[in-house]
Amino acid sequence: MKDFVALFESLDGTTKTNQKIEAMVQYFQEAEDTDKLFAIAILIGNKPKRPIKTTDLRLWASEVSGTPLWLVEESYYIVGDLAETISLILPPNEEVTDVPLNTVIKDIIRIRSLDHQTQRTVIVNWWLSMSGTALFLFNKLLTGNFRVGVSRKLVVKALAKVFNEEEAVIEHRLIGKWNPLEESMQTMFHPSGPEAKIYLPYPFFLAYSIENQVDGLGEISDWILEPKLDGIRGQLIVRDNHIYVWSRGEELMNEKFVEFMELHRYLPDGTVIDGEVIPWKDGKPLDFLLMQTRIGRKNITRKFLEDAPLVMVCYDLLEWEGKDIRQVPLQERRQLLIELLNQYPVADILLLSEEKKFDSWEEAQVYRDAARSYGSEGLMLKKRDGVYEAGRKRGNWWKWKTEAMTIDGVLIYAQSGHGRRANLFTDYTFAVWDNGQLVPFTKAYSGLTDKELITIDNWIKRNTIEKFGPVRSVKPELVFELAFEGINLSKRHKSGVALRFPRIVRWRHDKPASEANTKNDLLSIIAGTNE
């Protein structure tokens, strides 16, 4: 796996996208075919499942290196990455043999089915025959949290260069959960006509948030405006008398979205619809959390089906009568979609995404600002004559979300982060006032600059009250403004509320802790959104 190690090192060693693409192109041109597919799978995050409990790995690393287990744990707190910790703790190996990447990964997959004692033997053998980055990568694959500093988009770019193909074509080939053990470079990238996989979705067109003023977009009549709903983006495919529902995360959701499973009996072959899957009852959307709980369950009980029935709010038609119509202007695609939904008896599960008509951007803005009270997150802006693009692109689609809700919380606990933030206190717990007491109500990780993180890290080290393992309680002094997308009552949280997607907006240097918000403020936000 020497060549893959070299690839990883060059990807890891630069922040420049062009250099990353070059490194991948070089690898794909030079590596063995039998390795490439595994490399692609790893690069885009399609990696083998963790074959072993991490507690076993810690224990064996402790035994093999003669380091007490508590010291392995302490080291892990500092390093922030178990795979790296183990690689650094193991005794150094002078003589190492180079083994092909596919052999290593096949062995990692095999480990899952071995008995405990054999697992140990196999893993320790690998440990004693690898060193440096190769050992680190092996451990990363074992712990199942391997991430390389490239986006899927970059991998697609590199492959497009290697095969001299459009990026959209490559994107299409890579979609879904394909298994590198069952595919070859030939079947993946040079499929012949009838064997092409009929169940594959098109790459989703994703919108950026609008960056400037909306009036820069020109006439409002050139745009279709739709309420932005909070659900799971999905693509519904009817081909060859089968139905497939894909999520944006490129997961096949057939087992979770049972409501849609009969649709192929009603819709003609060669139909692909894009839309938002949401829980819906009595003519209006239900809270997103309901669907999330339902999806999290292995078995969907009748109660779930009754409490959180799913529909798809359809907003685009990508394939019609077996033809890819993504290049047809949106206006016409939408017209076909409307006709289709009228023509076939699917009205109880497939709804049309409502077009909002406004006379001016100002009027649209009024709706967008109050979007939450209409059960939406804002507006989607789509150009009437725009084509359906692949991936996240600017221009034809924009999301115009309503302002996030915010609240000022006091920092009370800190824990060191992982990866790039290892050894820095960057994971924070915040509290609000409740009858003179501070009650924790959320954690937040993102939103501060590296410089602020370092300043706060220093402050935390000087203002620690108590240490509980990796967590420290700190003097309740620093106040932060936190934004979030949703808020609900929760029985599972001490404070009684649960936030969706909380993040830090800014450090309120101007506010003393006494002026942070209260639990009552949180409760009144909940009351406000449920009106």
Binding site: D12, G13, T14, T15, S65, T67, P68, W70, L71, E74, S75, I78, V79, G80, D81, E84, T85, L88, I89, P92, H418, G419, R420, R421, A422, N423, L424, D450, I454
Partner: protein
């Protein structure tokens, strides 16, 4: 019996001799282990340090102080306590300080490393009863590659960058690491340039008899002549207009912290070389055994973890000395 060394609000204090070692507040008499700013501070009435530390003191604290110069291994007395300085191998002029009274020997290491760097006087083993050791890298994940290997990697990286048309920027602490690097880079690869902070330190060290390669970059330096060159600058130069004027370049941080991937990525540098002027895990453990100390005290580093390790693994009483020394290789200056 009273301990020979304790920590009070001013620093590491010897009550019997009424003097301090590396104090952090102004005091009457200060023994100084080495010239880094967390060990040698402003405002002492009287400084006692190794001869080679004096030009650094003059540069960093200013001239005209009351300073007593000491040679390695030359004992002197304060109030009946025999004091001697011994090479610590950390940077030029760095010393461990040995105190002896009534047959009992205490050693404070200051900052130290055992592996010779070819510039500072190599570490000397000093046997003692009470051993006060730093533990900046006191975790088993910090086992550094040999410095020979790192120098080789630095040189080949420079060569590669020069071939690709890039300058090579090495970010290194101006006192210690910078000289350590300059003494080992291959001058045949290309020109060597220095940030002002590094050049000032080098100039001061000429007085102590040291000469290092490299041209100072000034306002008048023609930037277009700096091509495929090696530039040594302090970490604070990262993301400054000064550095950007030297584009195109690739940057590397030289520090023991670069052993961890997260630390390197946080820095936003292209590369990290784990070149350290501190003991790594193996060296710390070696030192503790070799000194044959019966009591161990640990300061700046992973004190809690390291002292637990020492008491469990060696069965020695190990305590934490809470000092205000921070690590001079730390990521911010």
């Amino acid at each position: 019996m009273q301990k020979l060394l304790v920590v009070n609000e001013n620093g590491l204090y010897c009550p019997r001799g009424d003097f301090y070692i590396d104090p952090w507040k102004p005091v009457k008499t200060a023994l100084i282990t080495h010239g880094h700013s967390d060990h040698m501070r402003w405002g002492m009435q009287h400084y006692i340090c190794h001869r080679h530390t004096i030009p650094i003191l003059n540069l960093r604290i200013g001239m005209g102080h009351s300073v007593q110069s000491v040679e390695y291994g030359q004992p002197f007395e304060i109030k009946g306590i025999t004091i001697s300085f011994h090479p610590a191998g950390h940077i030029i002029g760095s010393a461990q300080i040995r105190l002896e009274y009534d047959g009992e020997v205490w050693v404070f290491t200051g900052d130290y490393k055992i592996e010779p760097d070819g510039v500072s006087t190599p570490y000397e083993l000093v046997k003692c009863d009470h051993f006060i050791t730093e533990c900046t890298f006191g975790l088993p994940v910090y086992r550094f590659p040999t410095s020979q290997e790192i120098y080789k990697n630095i040189n080949s990286w420079w060569q590669q960058n020069a071939a690709d048309g890039y300058n090579t920027v090495l970010l290194a602490y101006a006192l210690g690491k910078a000289q350590n690097i300059l003494a080992h880079v291959d001058e045949d690869i290309g020109d060597i340039f220095l940030h002002g902070a590094v050049a000032n330190t080098n100039d001061a060290l000429i007085e102590a008899g040291f000469n290092f390669p490299g041209k100072r970059i000034t306002q008048d330096t023609n930037r277009s002549n700096i091509k495929g060159a090696l530039i040594v600058a302090p970490p604070s130069a990262m993301d400054t207009p000064w550095l950007r004027s030297l584009r195109p370049y690739r940057t590397a941080m030289c520090s023991g912290w670069m052993q961890l991937r997260g630390a390197r990525r946080r820095r936003g540098v292209d590369k990290g070389f784990p070149l350290s002027d501190h003991c790594d895990w193996n060296q710390l453990n070696h030192a503790i055994r070799a000194t044959e100390a019966k009591h161990v005290y640990v300061t700046h580093g992973y004190e809690a973890v390291f002292s637990k390790w020492v008491s469990e693994n060696y069965g020695l009483p190990a305590a934490v000395f809470k000092t205000l020394y921070h690590d001079d290789e730390a990521e911010e200056e």
